[in-house]
Each structure stands twice: as C-alpha cells, then as structure tokens.
Symmetry: C2
C-alpha cells in the first residue's frame, strides 16, 4: 500500500484539503480516500504544492495522426476549397507510408505527450491494419499489437478500439488509398478481435473495444452483429457518426434514415454505445442518443480544425446523454481546451455565459461538468473503472502544480474553474497510471528516447524546408 497526501484532492466535484489517497501498488487500485490522519501516517508521501485529481480519459484518438501536426494548414493556390475531405487525403498519405516500427514509434511518442498532458487512459480508435500494399500481415493484428506495445512502453492505459473497416462509402468498395484499413469480412474481423482480446486478458492497463468505423465504412447488416459481439464480451462499442453533412446525406439517400436513426433502427444505441463527433444531428437524434444511455465523444480541437461544425453540447446534456472527450487528430493534446470548448462554442452561439452547469443549492457551476467530461464520462465510454478518486477505482491520477503562474490566485473553490477555463497542459506536473508514477515534475522517463525515434520517422516523412510532404 502507498499513500499520497497532496495539498488538495478533487472528489465529488470539488477540491478538499486534508484528504489523502491510499492505493495498492500491485493491483493498481485505490483502497481508500480519507483524511490523512485516518490513513497510516508512516507510509504517507506528502505532495506539497500539488492538487491531486483523476487522470484524463481521452476517449478518441488516432495516435499516428500526430505525424501530420502542422502539415495540413495550407492548400494549393489552385484549389478553391479545403475541407475535411481534402484533409483526409493528406492523412491517408501519411498512413500509407508507415512501417510497423514507425507505427510503434509514432504511437509511443504520442502517448508520452498525452501522459505529460495528464491523460492516463487513451481510447485508441485503430484502423491502420494492413501492410502498405494492402495485404494483411501474417498476424492481422500486427499493427494493433504495435500500438498496444507502444502504450505499454509509454505507461499509458489503453483501450484498443479495434476498427472494422470494409467499405469506401455507403455501398462503395474501398479506395486504393484505404487498402491498409481493410479488415475483410465480418468473421475475419471478429476472429482478429477475439485473438486480441484473449491476449490482453489479465494484462494490466490494456483492454479492447469494438469499433465499426462508421455507417460509411461498414455494411449496415454488420452493425447489429458487431454490437451483439460487443455485448457478449461486455466490450465498449464505438463508431464515428455524423461528423460531416456528406455522410448524413449519403445515409439518407441510401437508407432513408439519418445515421443516428439508422443506428437506433439497428438497436445499438445502448449504454455501451459511443458516437464520436455527432456533429450534425437533429432534435430527434439527440433524444435517441440520450434515451439509450450512450455517450457522445466530442473532439472539439479536431472538429474546429477540420471545420466539422458545432457540437450540440447543451442539448445533449439536457436530454441526458453523456459527453466524453477525445483528442482525435492530435492537433493539440490539451484536455482542458477540449473541455472548455464544449461550453465556449455554446456561449458564442447563444451569446450567454455559464450554460453547462451542475450543482445544487444556490450556485450553478460549469467547471464540474467540464471536468467530468474529461474524466469520468470518458472512463464510462471506455468501460474502464477510472475517472474518479474513490475506493476500488483504478489508481490513475494527476498532480496539478499549484505554483503554476496560470493558477496564481487560486482558492480551493476557484481552482476547478481556473483549470477548466484557464489552464494549459503544463499545469500537470505528475502522473500516476495504475499507481505507477510515469511523469514526475513534468518529465516522462522515456521522453528523450521517444522524441528521438519519433523525429526520425517525421524526418523521413518530410525533409526540412518542404511544404509538400503530404
């Protein structure tokens, strides 16, 4: 057993002084959160100048896209319009060039950067499966295993959302550029995923989920089957949904149903369902998502970068849907920014303040809502018992540097709002995953090595001075 005694500890939507957390280093679970005088004082490690809170859960990530950071913020002068679809071409090019070793190096670095930003669990929506020529590796899960290995070596908890990908659009074959994503027929996908799931059973910090890519990329008939598979194994079930209007239009054109309506029709909108983005949904779809008890995973820094449109955050919360957060394309790794954008995008459109409130009594606050999105809502989406400092939960937590300049003037009462609205990732000074300290004073043990390997891949992807790598 180990005991950490920070200056402040976040529990039940507020920071308290005097509390300490006791956790079991071999099980990686929290044993107790109690006043430090109630816990064994001999073992207690004081954390002066630190506030302890649950680690962030990043519910939607494509780690390899870290490679194209900074490389898609331009367009050819002879192109009238850049949008999600032109960005996707650049992303495909990046994906096509990666060896298994590259996938490992890029993913490991991305996970190290996530840990430094306080992310203790990542939901990796993994769709890069085949060799560059499109043929499956001898082990179809070769790249999935590389990504899991990268997470293990970085020390982050991972839920590998193994993506099923079979079509290039509704009723369309895969394009040549999508050849690495092909998971074959549904049985092949299930067999591959079962193998992965069997291998990670009992492994600390690794789990698996089912992820039909989208209504674009998976035949409608498979969706219910895959959901049944997820239910049988009690796995999370994630899909991209309604990120772009073109998807909605294609779905209506083919099936006479909007994407969320179709998923409702297939009976998959239950509590294990997470719809990623859900940008273009109507009132009826908001209610459908909420009634099922599912989660919407917003990725606001990516959605603004790709010009996807605005999340209906206030409507979803009012209807009772959960909102989790993902860093998706890795343009930024800042869960504070992801969280506040859900509130801020509402403020800008409604021209009001203080909208996504929680609380009872005299005061309605926004910060607890936002911090839950970044922690417990993501944990629920990935079916990982984390996201709160409480008995039995995973010992995944982060230390906030109370002497950070951005937080100057904090009180226990204002600190949640300071974090949610004004903090950058560098306020996170220390990170524990399953009770293991993987970031200390802002430094990750494998940071230099990880960056060097990543830079080598990035250097091959694009020589200095060129704009046109992708």
């Amino acid at each position: 057993m180990a005991v950490l005694a920070p200056d402040l500890l976040y529990r039940d939507d507020a920071f308290y002084s005097g509390l300490a957390v006791e956790f079991n280093e071999s099980t990686g679970r929290i044993a107790r959160v109690a006043h430090r005088l109630e816990l064994d004082a001999h073992d207690a490690v004081p954390l002066p100048g630190r506030a302890l809170m649950p680690g962030f859960v990043n519910a939607h990530s494509h780690a390899f896209q870290r490679l194209i950071r900074g490389r898609t913020q331009w367009r050819p002068a002879d192109t009238a319009v850049a949008n999600f679809w032109s960005w996707r071409e650049a992303m495909y090019s990046a994906a096509l060039n990666l060896s298994p070793e590259d996938v490992y190096d890029v993913s490991r670095w991305c996970f190290i950067e996530m840990l430094r930003a306080g992310i203790t669990t990542v939901g990796e929506f993994h769709y890069l499966h085949n060799a560059p020529d499109g043929r499956p590796y001898t082990d179809r899960a070769e790249l999935a295993r590389r990504v899991i290995g990268a997470a293990q070596d970085a020390g982050i908890r991972i839920c590998l959302l193994n993506t099923c990908y079979a079509a290039g659009g509704i009723g369309q074959p895969l394009s040549h550029e999508q050849r690495r994503f092909d998971t074959g027929d549904v049985d092949t996908y299930v067999t591959m995923t079962e193998g992965l799931a069997a291998d990670v059973v009992g492994q600390a910090r690794v789990s698996v989920g089912i992820a039909p890519h989208s209504v674009r990329a998976v035949p409608r008939e498979w969706i219910g089957m895959l959901h049944a598979f997820a239910a049988t194994r009690d796995l999370p079930f994630h899909m991209h949904v309604s990120e772009q209007l073109a998807e909605v239009d294609a779905c209506v054109g083919r099936f006479g149903l909007r994407p969320v309506e179709l998923l409702d029709d297939e009976g998959v909108l239950d509590e294990r369902f997470t719809g990623v983005h859900a940008t273009h949904i109507n009132d009826r779809e908001v209610v459908m998502l909420a009634i099922g008890g599912g989660t919407v995973c917003a990725c606001p820094t990516t959605e603004r970068d790709l010009g996807d449109g605005f999340l209906r955050g206030a409507d979803l919360l009012r209807a009772g849907a959960g909102i989790a957060l993902g860093t998706d394309s890795q343009t930024m790794l800042d869960m504070f920014e992801e969280a506040r954008l859900v509130e801020y995008n509402e403020r800008l459109r409604r021209m009001q303040r203080v909208l996504l409130t929680r609380g009872a009594g005299d005061v309605l606050e926004v910060a607890p809502t936002l911090l839950r999105m970044a922690t417990s809502a993501g944990a629920r989406s990935l079916r990982v018992p984390a996201g709160a400092l409480e008995e039995g939960a995973l010992a995944d937590f982060i230390g906030i540097d109370l002497d950070h300049p951005a937080l100057a003037g904090w009180t226990a009462a204002t600190l949640p709002a300071m974090l949610a609205f004004s903090a950058a990732p560098d306020v996170v000074s220390d990170v524990w995953v399953g009770g293991r300290n993987v970031v200390a004073n802002g430094l990750h043990g494998r940071q230099e090595e990880g960056m060097r390997a990543f830079n080598a891949v990035a250097g091959r992807a694009s020589g200095p001075g060129t704009h046109s790598a992708f």
Copy 2:
C-alpha cells in the same frame, strides 16, 4: 552591440537557419539581421535549440481583471441568464476594492505572466482612475502611473491607453459602480493625458495612447475632439466598439447610426484608429473600417468567455482591415490561442479549412496571417516600431524551445503552423524586451516575488472556500 545566433529565425513569414540578429543594447534597437558569418562572430551568443521570432504584441489588456480569473464561471441558481452584463457586475466589484498598491501588484503579476507567454508589448486600456470613493487622486493619473510602474518593474513594453470615461450609457450618467472610471470633462481628461505623455517622453518601453472607452461611455461630441488630440500628438486612438448587440441598439436608437457608422461620421476611422472587438458589425461597417486603414483588435478568448459572438475575421481581412489581438480579460494569456481562434471560428461556421491565407505561388498558408496578427498588426495598432525582426525595429523577440514536446517533428517549413495551431505558451523559453533578457529558460527574475504579492491581493479579495467574492 550584441549578437544572438539561434538555430532558426523568423523573417518575412518564414523560419530560416543561419541568420543572426545584431542589436544595440543601449538604444534597444535591432541593428542588423544577417547571416551569422556576416556578423561579428566574436560577439555572437549561440542559442542552440531555439527559434527566434518577434515578441507578441497584446493590443488590448485590462491587467486588473487578472484578479477575477476563475471567479466568474458560475451563476446564482435563481438567475435565468448570465451574460456579458452580469459578468460586468462582477468585474466592477473587483475594480472597486483595489488600492493603488493592489493595482500595482495585480498589474505587475499580470505583466510577468504575459512576458512568460512571450508578450513583449502590452496595450493597457486603463480605465481605473479614481479612489474607491470616486474622488480623483491628487494626481489624477495616480493609478495610470502605478500601472506604468508595474510594467517597468516587470520589464514589459507598455502603451498606456488612457481611457476617457464619462457616461454610464448613451446619454446616461455614470452609475455609482462606475465612479472610479470617471475622467471628468474633456479638458480634464486631456490635461491628465498630456501630463502623462510629457512624463513618459524619452522613457524606454513606455508610451501613451488616447482611448475614449466606447460610444456608450463618451459623449459623441468628444470623439472627434479626442481624435484630433491624438492626431496632433501622433498617438494611437483606441475604442471599444460593438462588442454587444445592446450597444448597437442603443446607438441606433439615439443617433440613427450603428457604432462604426457613427465613428465614420465623426471622421475618426483612419490608420490610427483601433476598434476593439467589432463583433456586431454589418457589411457596410466592415468596409468603413477597412477603407480608413484602421485596425480591429479581436480578443477571441475573452469574446468566447463573455459570449460576445463571432468576429467577422475573413470579411475584415478580405476588405483590407488589419486584425490585432488582445488578451483583454486575462481569462487566458496565450497569444497562440488568440490567433488560431480567428481562423477556427471561421472554419466552424463555414465548414471549410485553411481560410485566412497569405502567400503567393503554389501554396497558401494560414500561419503567417495568424502570426502577423499576434505581432506586427498589434505593433501597428499601438504605433510601436516592433513586431518584426528587421533593421531599426525594437529588439523585442522571443526564443521558442525547439525541443518542446508539442513541437516534436518540426521542420523549418512546418514550424509556423505548429506554433499557430498547436503550441501553448510554455513553448516560449526566452524573452527580450528592448534587447534586455527578461525571461530565461521559462523563468522571469521577479516571478516569485510578483506571485507572492499578487496572491496577497487575491487572498483579501476572496477567502478560500467561498464562491462569492465577486
């Protein structure tokens, strides 16, 4: 003469290796930017792992509002709506409680935090003039001088935009809560400002500007007079304009003109004019602002926090107006975020990418536009010869840590986009103002002392555990 030789140097919208900057430490000006072999190698200080770029110019700041960071993100449960106007009540309460020493301590800390974020010049829109009881101090510019002193002690360059404030709304007297803002009649304001301007003549790093608060707070008849005063003394002329629809409605109701139309009618929309916010302007007003050659100062992190609405950034740039950036309410101090929000808010509304482009030839990029907003556009707005690394300009520049995790994978070509779209303030490791190194390796020399004094003021403003200080 001193010479700095970084790994990369930003000039003419791109990073170059091999360049060094030579500057005169007594005049605080840049003498030359040239290849390091052309400059005297004996004097050159190498800056390994650093990219040098112009310091940021923060064209609109209310330093004392740093005190309410984190304290306005809630509302009473019995209030139906929170908005700009309810936020303003909280801000007024904070303003009313500050002694001259408090104003100094809060401002100095805010300026230190700005410097750490790479801001080398601040345009301080200063409207807190009188004693708490509303009576002018013996020296009417007492608090202005405290703010200037705070800037000097922090080491930031300041343009004190001395605010003229005389009405509580169009045709309305000042409210009791606005008593500290009252600058009396126009002659009193001019006398006070002339005194300030005379005192700072010849002082390094200090200048003065004319700032009628808004069409709400200054009688229409004064606006042209104050602009003539600014022209005679060759000073910048700043006003808040059209931040809220209520201001537009009141202006139309009283004068039959929208705020920018009124300012056009008064003949003040020239190249020395900066309109702060300009959120709610119509097509005609966009053109009026552009034709005059003036600047709009956007404050996107504040505008999203206050629920002001969206800047018409693309329209303004297309029409030819300059866009500068301000941190305004100090919710965040992150000029990268201010800059990218101008692009991102357009992407979200238009559902396209890569909109605010610059460049010729085959490639149109966004980052150069955004970095100009954060540097040269602000310098032009404040009439300070900074914002670019070129001969004769002020030696105000910042060092970017090229080993920062957020920038891993950079090339000279992608670095501007990485900064504009993916960086947080902590990528700034070193800061020079007028050739003086005031931040080194992320540390400001008076950081601890400054934070301690600020915390003392913040502690009096609100005891720990309370929500209700303001």
